[in-house]
Structures are given as C-alpha cells and as structure tokens.
C-alpha cells in the first residue's frame, strides 16, 4: 500500500462547465485511454445539457419552449422529464421550489443536479463503479476512492471557505449544498419575493442529486421553517447551518471523523 500510494490508479480532471468548475475523480483501475474516454463523455454530456437547458442562450431548447416555439409534446424526452420533475418539486416543496420564480422558465435549480446524476449513472453503466463527480459543490459519489476507502465528502463551513463543518462518508451518496454565502442572498422566497433569510447553508443527502439540490434550495427559501420541513422529508438526510451559527442535522446523517 505504501509503495502504491504514490501512483494511485484512476483519473482526475477539472473543467469549467455550466458556469462552474466540475471535478471528476474516477478511481477505477482501468487503462488510461478508457478512463479518458469516460471522462470525455461525462464532460460532453454536461456541455450538451448546458447548451440545451441554458436560460442565457436564446436558441436553447428551454428558451424556445419558454417562448412557446416548441410544444412540450415536441420537446426532447429530457426536457419533458425535467419539466415533470419541476412540477413534482413545486408540489413537494409547497411552492418553494419554483422553476418560474424569476418570471420566465428557469429549471436550473434542478437541472444541474440532475445532469450530474445522469453522468454518474452513465459512468456506473459503463463499469466505472468508483467515482466522484462534483459540479460547483453538488456531489455524487459511488464506490470507493483510490485509497480503497469510502469517499470522504466535506461540507463547506459557511463562514470559512477553507474549512469544513462536517465530514460525510459513503459509497453511494448524492450531496447537495445550497447557501447564501457564495452569491449573497440570491435565493428568493417565492411567496414574499424577498431574499430568503434564516438559513445560511442547507445540505441535503440522498440518492438523487437533482432532488437533493432542489430540496436544499427550497429549504433555504423557506427560512427557519425549512428545518422542520427537512426533518419530515422521507429518504433524504440534511444538515442545516442557521444565520446564528447553529448546526442542525439528521441523526442518521452518514458522518465520519
């Protein structure tokens, strides 16, 4: 182990996609060319999603659908699935996850997590059982890291960018964090139309990264009431840091030292 630790198997790559740095770590011991192809496919998929679901590019599928130039029945299966999920999320979050919160259609609160989840599913289908994909803080891990241990995922400390406040560990986890510290109070309470306050950081842990990301964003929008909502959310664990620096988390959160 000591000799092998200097030459760890696998591949690491960082690229900027969807306006955010995306870090890929494939820990499987496979030929470099195979790993490179898998990584190429992951980033190609994320770029494809960015082009099709971007709200900034007027010719994207989302923009054409929003303008009414494209009927839902004519839309791609991906867009139809995303729209379905956004409607479900609106219902599940009591309207606090709202793809139309900004006026026009903006499903990016679900799309990023979903895109990473699909990429991870494809990696596993291609036989890369051990990987970690992190897109701007939204993480999907499977299997073990190249150390042979379960993946160790830090949750960023909401006041100190170089520290973490919790460390999670697992072999099949989706971890999404939403917070107000990175871009100010950008999460809006869709009911009051004012910036959400009360919760500085919300981390949701489960199996589907798209849902985890949307749940985390919705809880931030709910404010303090989001804590109780998360507590009753089936199948997903949470860790919340309030504006007054309290940390509340599920008892069954997969914490490690």
């Amino acid at each position: 182990m000591s000799a092998a630790s200097s030459i760890r198997p696998g591949l690491r790559r960082v690229e900027h996609v969807m306006g955010t740095p995306v870090s890929l770590d494939i820990a499987d011991d496979r030929p470099a060319t195979e790993l490179a192809t898998l990584a190429d496919e992951v980033f190609a998929w994320l770029r494809e999603v960015d082009a099709r679901f971007s709200t900034y590019q007027p010719d994207s599928e989302v923009c054409r659908f929003d303008r009414g130039e494209l009927l839902l029945s004519e839309a791609s299966a991906d867009l139809r699935r995303v729209m379905e999920r956004c409607a479900d999320l609106w219902d599940a979050t009591d309207g606090f996850f709202d793809a139309y919160a900004t006026g026009g259609l903006d499903p990016s609160g679900y799309v990023k997590g979903w895109a990473v989840q699909v990429a991870s599913d494809r990696l596993r289908a291609a036989g890369a059982d051990n990987h970690c994909l992190n897109a701007g803080g939204d993480v999907r891990v499977r299997g073990h890291s190249s150390t042979g241990l379960p993946w160790r995922i830090g949750v960023r400390h909401p006041w100190n960018p170089s520290a973490v406040c919790l460390v999670l560990s697992g072999t099949d986890l989706a971890v999404a964090t939403s917070g107000v510290y990175e871009r100010g109070h950008h999460v809006r309470d869709p009911r009051r139309g004012t910036p959400a306050r009360g919760l500085r950081s919300v981390t949701v842990v489960g199996h589907d990264l798209g849902l985890a990301d949307a749940y985390a964003t919705a809880a931030v929008a709910m404010g303090v009431a989001g804590i109780g909502w998360l507590d009753r959310l089936p199948g997903y664990q949470h860790a919340v840091v309030t504006d007054d620096a309290r940390c509340l988390h599920s008892t069954n959160l997969p914490l490690t030292d």
Partner: protein
C-alpha cells in the same frame, strides 16, 4: 343662587385647568424620552418620515410582525399614555368652547411624536405616532427587530419537535477529504476554495 354661581364658576375653572394642564403634559410625557425630534412642525415631520422609506420595505415584507403580541407591546406602551389621556381632555374641550382655541390654535394640525427605542429580547423597537389634537391618527414602526417574536417562536417550535441533533457549527481543518460540497461556486471563488486545493494536490 350665589352657591350655584360659585359651583358653575368652580366647574369652569377646574375644566379650564384640566385642559391647560393636560394639553401640555400630553406632548411632554411622550416626547421627553426623545428630546431632539419631539415637537416639530408639520414640515419637519415630513422630513423625519423620509428615513422610514428604507425600513418600510422590511415592514412590508413582514406585515404580521407588529401583530405579534411581544413585539407590539413596546409600541402600545408608548402610545397608550396619550390614548388614555385623549378621553378626558376631549371631554373637557367640548364643554368650554372658549377655552379650546386658546390652547389648540398654535398647535399644528397633525403632530408626529417619536417614541423611545425600546429593547427587548428580540431587538429594538421604535414607534412613531401621529396625533391630530389628542387623537392618534397614525402609528408606524421605525425600527423592528430582525429576529421577531414570531420567527423565534417558530424556531423554538421547530426545536421542540425536531428529531435531529442540534449544536453550534464548528470549524474543521480536515485532511484526507476527497471532495467538498458547498453552495454553487463561481470560477473566482473556486480559486480560493478547498475544492480547488484538493484538485491541485492531485
């Protein structure tokens, strides 16, 4: 007859005294707590109202706030002394109509009285009231606590029913991390992030 005249003049004298005495403390008891902007003219009161344009946004977003008993109490305290006084003084002014113009004439139509800043466990509360004579025609909150009684009640309710673990957030300089979950990082903030350090170390 003489006795009756004495009684009437006595009544008139006492009611006039009441009006004179009550009209003056009406302003001073409320205003003495805030010496500077107390009894200002109508022109001044509009300039005093200007800074409220900013807090007004906060008031609008949390319209149920003043209704919560705890945060509204200090406001009621400042308003109630003059409200209680409004009864007897207006009664008195009705009887001797001659006495009224002499005391009320130099006063502006609507006075604005700013109450003291009252601190409670949720923060500071300051209320301004507008008076037409002795009648309160408007009341507004100049300052309300960020953390309101309502939100605190709600969070304590959450704590009571919460099934998870609660404590203060701690900082950990943990080694051996494979990755970091955090709120969406921009390219600039990524450069300073722990995730960037992890990516560089590999």
């Amino acid at each position: 007859m003489r006795r009756a005249l004495f009684a009437i003049s006595g009544l008139a004298a006492s009611t006039t005294a009441l009006v004179v005495l009550k009209a003056a403390p009406d302003t001073s008891t409320v205003a003495q707590q805030v010496p500077a902007p107390a009894t200002s003219g109508a022109g001044e009161s509009t300039t005093a109202a200007e800074p409220t344009a900013e807090p007004a946004e906060a008031t609008a977003t949390a319209s149920p706030r003043p209704r919560t008993s705890r945060s509204a109490e200090p406001g009621r305290k400042t308003a109630s002394p003059s409200a209680g006084r409004a009864g007897p003084s207006s009664d008195a002014t009705k009887k001797p109509p001659a006495a009224r113009p002499s005391t009320a004439a130099p006063q502006p139509a609507v006075r604005r009285v700013v109450g003291p800043v009252v601190s409670n466990e949720f923060g500071n509360v300051q209320v301004a009231i507008s008076l037409d004579g002795a009648r309160i025609v408007d009341a507004e909150a100049l300052e309300l606590p960020e953390r309101t009684a309502q939100s605190d009640q709600r969070s304590s309710q959450v704590d009571d029913r919460y099934s998870g673990t609660a404590g203060l957030v701690v900082q950990r300089q943990s080694a051996d991390l494979d990755t970091v979950s955090g709120a969406t990082a921009t390219s600039e903030s990524y450069q300073r992030s722990l995730q960037a350090a992890i990516d560089r170390a590999r």
